[in-house]
C-alpha cells in the first residue's frame, strides 16, 4: 500500500469511513463486497501476443504478452516457461519510484503468478518445442498506470484476459499459429479489514485505513489455489473462512460476467 504523507487521510474522514462501513455502506455508496465499475479492453496492444487493459474505477493496468523461444529450466525440461512481472510505474502514484521493483511490486507479482500457476490455467507441457532445449517462453508484463487500490485483482483480471487471447507464433517454426491452451480461469479476490468488517475492491483511501489484507484466488473447480495475507494486521480464523466464501461467490460472478 503506497504511503503519501500529503495524501494521508484525516482522522475525521477516517472515522466517518469506518462508521459508514460498520453500517454496511462505503463512502462511495457501495455495499461492502461490491466492486467498482470494471472495464476490460481486450487486445489493447495489437502487436503483442495477447493483451488487455483493465480499469477498476480509477485503477488502470495494462497486461501484454510476448512469446519467444528459449531454454526450459533445468529441473522442468518438458515444460514451457511463464514469467510474470508487475511494474508499479512511477507515473501511477506520487511516491512510486523509478528503478528495480519494490518489495510491494514483487509481492504483488508473485501472488498474481501463484494464482495463475497453481490453478493450472496454462498447460505448460504443451509449450515444448524440443525437450530440454527449446520451449515457448511467455513473458507477461503488467504495467500499473494509475494506482487507486486493489492492484492484485486488477492485474489478475488483466493477465488472465491476455492469456485467454494469446496466440503462440507457431508460424515461426513453419507450423501454424495456435491459441494458448487454457484449462482454468483463476480469479483473485482481495479483501481488506476495516474495523471488524471485510470489504472487497478497496480504493486507495480504504487501503490506507485498513488493518490487514487477504487475497484468495480460486478457479471454477472451487478449490483455493493461492492465498496471501499482506500488510501489518491480524485476522481470526473465522475471518479467513469468511474471506474464502466471499472469494468463491465473487469469483463465480466475475467468471460468469467476463470469461464466458
Amino acid at each position: 500500500m503506497p504511503m503519501d504523507s500529503n495524501a494521508v487521510i484525516s482522522e475525521i474522514r477516517k472515522n466517518f469511513m469506518l462508521e459508514s462501513i460498520k453500517n454496511g455502506k462505503r463512502l462511495d455508496g457501495r455495499p461492502l463486497d461490491e466492486y467498482r465499475e470494471i472495464k476490460i479492453t481486450e487486445n489493447f496492444i495489437p502487436k503483442s501476443a495477447g493483451s488487455a487493459m483493465v480499469e477498476l474505477g480509477n485503477t488502470k493496468v495494462v497486461a501484454g504478452l510476448k512469446i519467444e523461444q528459449g531454454e526450459p529450466f533445468a529441473d522442468t525440461p518438458d515444460k514451457g516457461v511463464i514469467l510474470l512481472n508487475i511494474e508499479l510505474l512511477p507515473m501511477a502514484f506520487p511516491t512510486f519510484e523509478s528503478g528495480p521493483p519494490s518489495e510491494q511490486a514483487i509481492e504483488y507479482s508473485r501472488v498474481v503468478d501463484r494464482g495463475i500457476r497453481e490453478s493450472k490455467m496454462i498447460d505448460t507441457s504443451k509449450l515444448v518445442i524440443e525437450s530440454g532445449k527449446n520451449v515457448w517462453m511467455i513473458f507477461v508484463d503488467i504495467d500499473v498506470l494509475n494506482y487507486d487500490g486493489n492492484i492484485i485483482d486488477a492485474c489478475t483480471l488483466a493477465a488472465v484476459t491476455a492469456l485467454k487471447n494469446a496466440v503462440i507464433p507457431g508460424s515461426k517454426l513453419g507450423e501454424k499459429d495456435f491459441k494458448l491452451p487454457v484449462n482454468a480461469t483463476p480469479v483473485a479476490v482481495t479483501m481488506w479489514k476495516l474495523g471488524d468488517e471485510l470489504i472487497c475492491d478497496a480504493s486507495l483511501e480504504e487501503e490506507q485505513v485498513s488493518t490487514g489484507r487477504i487475497t484468495v484466488t480460486m478457479s471454477e473447480d472451487n478449490n483455493i489455489h493461492a492465498m496471501q495475507k499482506g500488510e501489518i494486521g491480524e485476522f481470526s480464523l473465522e475471518e479467513i473462512q469468511k474471506a474464502i466464501k466471499t472469494s468463491s461467490n465473487i469469483g463465480n460472478k466475475l467468471r460468469e460476467k467476463y470469461f464466458r
Partner: protein
C-alpha cells in the same frame, strides 16, 4: 539503415498508401492518469504513449534550484511494446531519449516561475511503431500544460527522413528500419524555434532543407490537435 526493400511504389505512394508528405493519424486525450497533476495519452499511427506529470518540491533540499524548476523526463518502454520483449529499466537508447526530451521541455517551461520545484515527466511507451521520441515529446508537452505548468509554447514534434532516395514525412516503421535517414525535430510553433533536432543517415544540405520544410508545414496541424485536446477538457469541465 539499408535500402534493399522498395519503400516507394511506382505510383509514388508509400507502402502504407500515404503520400510523401502525409502524416499518420494522431489522437490526443488529457486527464488519463487520475493520481498525476497532469497527463495525456497519444495515439500516433500505431504508437500508443502515455505521459504523466508531477510537480513537487525538489528533494533532497540541496538538489533544489532556488531560482528555477528542475525538469526530469523519463522515457520508458513497456515489455510488450516492441517486437522483441523489452527488459524493464533504462538502456543507453532510452537514456539519450530521456535527455533530449528533458532539454526540449526545459526550453519551453518558464522555469523561473517555479523556484525550488521539480517537474517530473513520466513517459510510458505502451506500443511503439516509429517516431516514439517525438510522439512522446508531443504528448508530454500536453501533459505538462495539463498540470498547469507555465510554458512559453507547446512543443510539437515531427520526423522526416529519406526512403528510396525521396524525402518523406513522418516515417513508418519500415521506412525507419530500411530507409536512408531519420530526422526527428521539435519546435515551438509560435516562434518556429527548434528545441530538439537529431539526424542519422545520409542527407545532403538540399535534402535537409526539404525535410525541414516538410516538417514546418506539418506542425500547425499537430499543434491544433494538442490545443483541441486541452480545450476539450476545459469544455467538459465547464459543462459539468
Amino acid at each position: 539503415m539499408e535500402s534493399n526493400i522498395k519503400l516507394i511504389t511506382d505510383d509514388g505512394l508509400r507502402l502504407d498508401g500515404r503520400a510523401l508528405n502525409e502524416m499518420r493519424p494522431i489522437k490526443i486525450q488529457t486527464g488519463v492518469v487520475e493520481k498525476a497533476d497532469g497527463s495525456a495519452y497519444i495515439e500516433w499511427g500505431a504508437n500508443k504513449i502515455i505521459a504523466a506529470v508531477y510537480v513537487r518540491e525538489a528533494y533532497p533540499k540541496h538538489a533544489q534550484n532556488i531560482d528555477r524548476a528542475i525538469v526530469k523526463a523519463r522515457y520508458n518502454m513497456s515489455g510488450y511494446s516492441v517486437e522483441e520483449r523489452k527488459r524493464p529499466g533504462p538502456d543507453r537508447r532510452t537514456m539519450e531519449i530521456s535527455k533530449v526530451i528533458t532539454e526540449a521541455l526545459e526550453s519551453t517551461i518558464v522555469l523561473e516561475k517555479l523556484p525550488r520545484a521539480e517537474v517530473d515527466v513520466f513517459i510510458q511507451v505502451l506500443e511503439a511503431d516509429a517516431g516514439t521520441r517525438i510522439a512522446s515529446l508531443t504528448t508530454a508537452s500536453v501533459a505538462v500544460a495539463d498540470a498547469g505548468v507555465p510554458m512559453r509554447d507547446l512543443v510539437v514534434g515531427c520526423t522526416a527522413g529519406k526512403a528510396d532516395g525521396k524525402m518523406v514525412l513522418d516515417l513508418s516503421k519500415d521506412e525507419d528500419n530500411f530507409g536512408e535517414a531519420d530526422i526527428p525535430m521539435a519546435i515551438l510553433p509560435r516562434t518556429k524555434k527548434i528545441v530538439l533536432l537529431q539526424l542519422d543517415g545520409k542527407v545532403s544540405q538540399e535534402e535537409f532543407d526539404e525535410a525541414t520544410s516538410m516538417m514546418m508545414n506539418a506542425i500547425p496541424r499537430i499543434s491544433e490537435i494538442q490545443r483541441n485536446a486541452l480545450m476539450s477538457k476545459y469544455n467538459v469541465e465547464e459543462g459539468e
